[in-house]
């Protein structure tokens, strides 16, 4: 990633979108919209002082909404380029309110609220489409109750919880527990404020609020307006403190998630959604279970699936190692339903096809191995670039030319073509690069490509 930023032959156009493609193989003119970042790319040093001072918190898309970022942000800590970006939908200044704190704190003077989108035109010989995929939205499967049961998460959300650079710095804190902790923080803030007000009153009248309140309730200060106000403030303080104490007591019992259920084929191999196999999800779940066990050796994981598809170099061995050394149990069967038990624990109901029995089991967290869905933007992009899509909206290719689109000079690689894992994406990317290079260097690019 770092190499892309500094390679002399690569011009990186981030935060940009392709709007128009004209011409034909060997001679294509591309129009690219460079969206306004409101930060000058050549001045921003990526120091991050602006994000520390920005008053607007927004759910962080990189962390799948499990953490917050600011209205001025770097997409993620090691992101290339390190240039920060202002989110125009969230920024107070850009929405017409008074702010501009980032501009005041930026020592490089990189903030420019007047920046506009720029249109650039590029002439190229060929195009490689590598737009990737979208994570399938599991709330389309009502019986899994994603979003209804807080401790049911997607594999990519779980990945962010496992990551040392994620919102929990790698601790497997359950989303329901994190919600309680956020509530505690909110109430503590309120309590500190009301405590401050009470402190002033206590100093003025020379007694503690509790002592005063007892006397007040006994009817000692009737008609005293000042003390009436004090009583109201004290009552408001208690209405914060009582739930706060309750929540704190609850939070004492919180531990990291140790009983994990992974559900395979969520959206894939399902005729209601995608009939195809997404390929990488079996190994993804095995990996997440192994890493979770590395973090917390008491972790026990159950992977529910029709079968575990460990097709790839070293994959089967990895699956077996997970079972032998990382407390993973593989259960053959599809999960019928997830319900919520006590303490926000998800309860999984499934058919164990080996024992031919319907069973239920309680877990701390459930992870959904979501399908690799075609990316939403690809329909529009296919029209712009002029290529055909297949019945699912992946880029159409043929078995003997797996990186050639239906239009000469336009190539495809990675999950834009079909679901695939990292090693396959890399191999296909090198293949697409080679096909594109043929056009860039050969004198007659319109020549037909020979296939085996």
């Amino acid at each position: 990633m770092l190499d892309v930023g500094r390679h002399p032959n690569i011009e990186l156009l981030s935060y940009s979108e392709v709007e128009k493609v004209e011409g034909r193989i060997g001679d294509l003119r591309v129009t690219v919209r460079r969206k306004a970042r409101y930060v000058e790319e050549d001045k921003c040093t990526g120091c991050g002082t602006c994000t520390e001072k920005c008053p607007t918190a927004v759910p962080d898309a990189f962390n799948e909404g499990l953490g917050d970022r600011r209205a001025i942000y770097s997409y993620f800590a090691q992101g290339i380029p390190s240039t920060h970006t202002i989110d125009p939908d969230q920024c107070r200044q850009l929405k017409g309110k008074k702010c501009g704190i980032c501009a005041k704190t930026c020592q490089a003077e990189a903030i420019n609220f007047d920046q506009k989108d720029r249109i650039v035109e590029i002439d190229v010989a060929a195009i490689i489409v590598a737009v990737g995929y979208d994570v399938f939205d599991p709330s389309r499967i009502p019986e899994y109750r994603y979003r209804e049961i807080t401790n049911v998460v997607t594999a990519i959300e779980f990945e962010r919880l496992l990551s040392a650079s994620g919102p929990t710095v790698g601790h497997l804190d359950r989303p329901s527990d994190r919600a309680v902790e956020a509530q505690i923080e909110e109430l503590e803030k309120k309590a500190r404020k009301s405590q401050k007000v009470l402190g002033k009153l206590e100093e003025r009248f020379g007694e503690s609020s509790a002592e005063f309140h007892e006397k007040y309730q006994a009817g000692q200060y009737q008609g005293d307006q000042e003390r009436q106000k004090w009583a109201d403030k004290y009552a408001a303080h208690l209405s914060v403190m009582e739930p706060l104490e309750d929540l704190k007591k609850r939070a004492e019992g919180f531990t990291v998630a140790k009983r994990l259920a992974f559900i395979q084929c969520v959206g894939s191999r399902d005729f209601r959604f995608y009939p195809f196999c997404s390929g990488y999800c079996c190994m993804h779940s095995v990996k997440e279970a192994i890493i979770a066990h590395e973090h917390e050796p008491e972790t026990r994981s159950t992977i529910f699936g029709m079968d575990i598809r460990a097709v790839g170099k070293g994959f089967e061995e990895y699956k077996i190692r997970g079972g032998d050394h990382s407390n993973i149990t593989y259960v053959r069967g599809r999960v019928a339903e997830i319900t919520e038990g006590a303490n926000h624990n998800p309860v999984v109901t499934y058919e164990d096809t080996r024992e031919r029995k319907v069973k239920s089991q309680e877990f701390d967290m459930v992870i959904l191995a979501t399908a690799c869905a075609p990316t939403k933007g690809i329909i529009e992009l296919a029209k712009v670039v002029g290529i055909e899509l297949d019945q699912y909206n992946f880029v159409k290719t043929s078995p003997l030319s797996p990186v050639d689109s239906t239009t000469p000079g336009i190539f495809v690689c990675g999950c834009a073509e079909s679901p695939m894992d990292v090693p396959e994406s890399v191999a296909q990317a090198s293949s697409a690069a080679e096909r594109a290079a043929e056009i860039a260097i050969q004198p007659r690019p319109e020549m037909e490509h020979a296939v085996a």
Binding site: M1, D3, N9, I10, E11, L12, L13, Y15, S16, E17, V18, G26, D27, L28, V30, V32, R37, F62, Y73, S74, Y75, Q78, G79, I80, P81, T85, D123, V124, A125, I127, I128, V129, A130, V131, G132, Y133, I156, R160, S163, G170, M283, K287, G312, K313, G314, F315, Y318, C413, G414, C415, V426, Q428, A429, S430, A432, A433, A436, A437, A440, I441
Partner: protein
């Protein structure tokens, strides 16, 4: 005659294509919709089957 290549998407596939072409001495323009490149793989903690760091 143009000798340059456009790549749309800065995930692992786009990055690999860009580096391969650039190393061949071909000028590449890499377009990414989001503020930073890296794509889904940058969101991953580790990769199977070696548990290597994804970034």
């Amino acid at each position: 005659m143009n000798k340059e290549i456009l790549i749309i998407g800065g995930g692992i596939a786009g990055i690999q294509s860009a580096l391969d072409l650039a190393d061949m001495g071909i000028k590449v323009h890499l377009v990414e919709k989001l503020p930073s490149i890296g794509g889904k793989m940058a969101q991953l903690d580790k990769t199977f089957p070696t548990n290597d760091c994804a970034i």
